[in-house]
Amino acid sequence: MISNDLNIFLILLSAMMVNNILLIRFIALCAFFGISSSIKTSIGMGMAVIFVMVMATGVSWPVYHFMLVPLNLVYLRTAAFILTIATFVQLEEMFIRRMFPSLYRAMGIYLPLIVVNCAVLAAAFLCIDYNLGFAKSMVYTVGVSLGYFVAIVMFAAIREVVDYAPVPTLFKGYPIAFVTASLMSLAFLGFKGLFGL
């Protein structure tokens, strides 16, 4: 289990590989299946998730610890987090469009889409649930988002190849994608027990 007394490197590795957010924890699967049909789009999505997730935890952690807890409003955390994240993504989008137009074009529609990506909200919740401090929350979030990137790009690469394979008619398309995901998840399960996490 992840807790505050693990060292930073272990938190990073555990978040990225051992508890991979897509394949082991099952969070944010809709986009995982929807967007992974080509390597190019999945790289764009992966980058955008890394960016937004790190920013979102950076905002929601102070909101929880400096606003909700002192004011005794912990029960509002779901609403507070989703609104903070949505607002912040909107601000980020405007900022990037103004300052880094090329990056903005590269991320395209994925930036606004991520507001409803549960991985972002989940990372923010999990940092609170694990009682991580601010620095470790950030490390944990970086690990989670890198894990997302690795998994979605690998999955897209496999799917591009599977498209040309002779698959039984009933399994064409999504069913075989799920079976593929199952095998990948099996491979990631191999990391379990690594470093005693």
Binding site: F26, G34, T78, A79, I82, L121, L170, F171, F178, A181
Partner: protein, 205 residues
């Protein structure tokens, strides 16, 4: 729109079962489906929690659909949904602590469960309260049935039990892999293929 006949209401209700099943066809809300189906009991609990949120948000969104300017509709819908999710979260914590423990972070995550938002955006914001109510019930039933079936398959094969009772003979060697994460993907992949088979056999000439 106001003259919704009972036959079209019936259609709104039943389309969630097979034709537009939220899990197998629309393929949204997969996170909760896969993560909360290690046992039939958890799966059923998740199904009910989800159905309640779906129904509540559908009704409220349909009621206020004419009052909300379209530029701010997404934050408004999210706020409506998160209200219902908070109700469910705290009800489960108070009355079913064990279930709440095993569903964990996935109860608050119903907020961003794309299917709830998807129905609010695609259906309730354009249809009458009655039609949205039917849509909510149908989607809820479709979701609950499929997630419970997945939970049952995984629990029986992976653990030899059903709703916590031993059903397989004592010398049965459970296939542990079905309880583990890969099993969830595998079961849903096969269910999708089966669903496709059913659709081809019964709905197409």
């Amino acid at each position: 729109m106001s003259q919704t006949s009972s036959s079209s209401l019936w259609k709104e209700l039943t389309k969630g079962f097979l034709k537009e099943n939220p899990i197998l066809v629309i393929m949204l809300g997969l996170c909760a489906t896969l993560a909360c189906s290690t046992s039939a009991t958890d799966a059923f609990g998740m199904g009910l929690a989800f159905s309640f949120v779906m129904l509540g948000s559908n009704i409220v969104v349909a009621t206020i659909r004419k009052l909300v300017p379209s530029q701010v509709r997404i934050p408004v819908f999210i706020t409506v949904i998160s209200t219902f999710v908070t109700i469910v979260d705290y009800t489960l914590k108070a009355y079913f602590p064990a279930l709440s423990q095993s569903l964990g972070v996935f109860v608050p995550l119903i907020v961003v469960n794309c299917i709830v938002m998807g129905r609010a955006e695609a259906f309730s914001s354009k249809n009458t309260v009655m039609a949205s109510l039917m849509d909510g019930i149908g989607m809820g039933i479709g979701f609950t049935v499929i997630i419970t079936v997945i939970g049952m398959i995984r629990e029986v094969i992976g653990n030899g039990m059903l709703f916590g009772h031993q059903v397989m003979p004592a010398h049965y060697q459970p296939f542990l892999i079905l309880i583990l994460p890969p099993g969830a993907f595998l079961v849903i992949g096969f269910l999708m293929a089966l669903h496709r088979k059913i659709m081809i056999t019964f709905y197409k000439p």
